[in-house]
């Protein structure tokens, strides 16, 4: 396309317009307009099947949209690739693959190494440094199947860190890890943001959104709301995002088998995901 070279919304880390993705005729993402400024730590939140992972994958070119366009720092993905780091869902690979933690982290450099070139000492040193950043330097030579779930997730994050990107996408990095690892991951991501990088995380836990993130995207096939967490994290927005799958527990709002929330009637922290009645 002729206009690919021209910058379009270059001040935004991520700009998505009119994006629609469908799978077997049913829309998974519909008419997504999304802007994420640089230097924020953003959460993409929504119920199961809201298209959170699909949104990231279509931004990264892993899923082909049927309409719309995506720009990263004003450029199409293939021109901005060097500035983007990616942490896929941990369950998306076979952890019994015969390789070591250090080797997996080194894979983060394959894209920029170019054809036929082998990773050498410089690449190994960069990978070791990234492992050190996530506190995994002692596990460099460990077979990846022998790592715990949290350690595997840290290895995946180290592989993205070694990409030295300006914009990071993480798909459910906190899924299935213990509380210590979750805190460590949040600390790593905050350090990135404090260095001016942009971090976009698919997140599943409403309870921690306000303490971890400063930007929020509420998604349920369509964008429900987006903006700074303080403005976006409202009871009305959450109710609209989760629809029938959520019950807003307020005093005098009897829910069978559930204890009414006691403090702060409109505090959305007391939202609980509930099965449909």
């Amino acid at each position: 396309m002729a206009d690919d070279a021209a910058l379009h919304e270059p001040d935004l880390a991520l700009h998505v317009e009119d994006l629609t993705v469908s799978y077997h005729g049913a829309p998974v993402l519909w008419d997504i307009d999304l802007d994420i400024p640089q230097g924020v730590m953003a959460a993409i939140v929504g119920p199961n099947g809201a298209g959170k992972s699909t949104l990231i994958k279509s931004v990264l070119g892993l899923v082909r949209p049927i309409a719309g366009h995506v720009r990263l720092f004003g450029l199409p993905y293939r021109n901005a690739r060097r500035r983007v780091g990616y942490v896929p869902q941990r369950s998306s690979v076979d952890w019994d693959f015969p390789t070591t933690a250090l080797d997996v982290v080194t894979m983060g450099l394959y894209g920029r190494l170019g054809w036929f070139r082998r990773p050498g000492r410089r690449e190994r040193e960069a990978a070791m440094a990234a492992l050190g950043e996530v506190g995994m330097q002692d596990y460099a030579d460990r077979q990846i199947s022998q790592l715990s779930g949290g350690q595997q997730q840290r290895v995946f994050i180290a592989r993205a860190l070694v990409q030295d990107a300006d914009l990071y996408f993480l798909d459910e990095p906190m899924a299935g890890v213990d509380a210590t690892t979750e805190r460590a991951i949040v600390a790593i991501l905050r350090r990135l943001r404090d260095r001016g990088r942009t971090v976009v995380v698919v997140h599943h836990d409403l309870q921690t959104v306000r303490s971890y993130f400063d930007w929020l995207v509420l998604l349920n096939v369509r964008i429900v709301a987006q903006g700074p967490v303080a403005e976006t994290y409202t009871a009305a927005n959450l109710r609209q995002t989760y629809g029938g799958q959520i019950a807003l527990l307020e005093p005098g709002d009897p829910v069978p088998g559930a204890r009414p929330a006691e403090p702060a009637p409109t505090d959305p922290r007391h939202l609980e995901t509930m099965p449909r009645p």
Partner: protein, 375 residues
Amino acid sequence: MLAFLQDYTIQTVAMGAALLGTISGVLGCFAVLRRQSLLGDTLSHAALPGICLGFLWAGARELEALLAGAFLTGAAAALLVLLIAARSRLKTDAALGIALSVFFAIGVVLLTRIQAGGGGGQAGLSTFLFGQAAAMLRADLWVMAAVTAVAILIVVLLWKEVKLVTFDPGFATAAGLPVVALEIALTVMIALAIVVGLQLVGVVLMTAMIVAPPVAARQWTRRLETMVLLSAGFGVAAGVTGAMISATARGLSTGPVIVLAISAIVLVSLLIAPGRGLIWTGLAALAERRRLRGRQVLLTLYRLAEEHRDPAYPAEKGTLDAYHRAATGPALARLEAEGLVRSVSHHPEPTPHWELTPEGHARAEDLAGRPERAK
């Protein structure tokens, strides 16, 4: 024996089997790690209609025409699998099964049709079902060697790309690698490996040459490099062994004997490989059970000593057996060997008694303080 090794046919077959073992062992690793073990099965079965079409086209049993046909229908089946998996709700395993049965059925129909038609030369076609090593010529070896060399060269040159695509295709795509092209290249090379092996092993058993060497090799190593080399080595060993065995005995078909040889390697690897073998993991579980039992007995002695306010309280073995509802003798003997307990006599009772040593007392205190401490 020397005369036997100098036999022209046996040499040819052994070299062919070694080449087949190399290419299928190397490429099989990526198929197995990409969870496409069945791809080889589908491709080889789908080669049968191609062989028949090649025969019909050439009008005679010309090897080039037969193998070209085999490659084309194999590739068509692979394409069909990709299409079904991408365009329908079926998963890849179902798509592989569909392609396998449809293509093989067409192949058998064509085969029986050709055989019913009579005429010269058609009798040789059914040997492709199970392979016929004796029909191999020296000229065929050059074709096999060339295909093997190309496949190995591609794998060596594109090592890091192929590795990343095999481990994490999503990340590879995001990193800008042409994942689809690499996957097609791997699939085409596997199809070539199968075509190369058809004469020797036949369409029905060919999949074993793709799947078995990597499965055996995976047991012995934690590195992809070593796995690929070992897999090729196992493939060569099985190929040459099978060729030799079938040459020494009358009436043993080469292909199935090669497959039996590689199966034996797989069986041994599954049993005894250190770290992953069944015997190894069984022994590890036994050691873990013993460790737990030792801890339990040590803690029982400790609690008895606490109860009696005597760190060296001598407990009767019968008491320990009754408490654990099992003979604690072996566990006590192991604890004694570690210097944690010692056997004492407790006059006037004639039965054996055991007490904690100071080290044993310290260890038990440690365990009691943090009973679920990680190893």
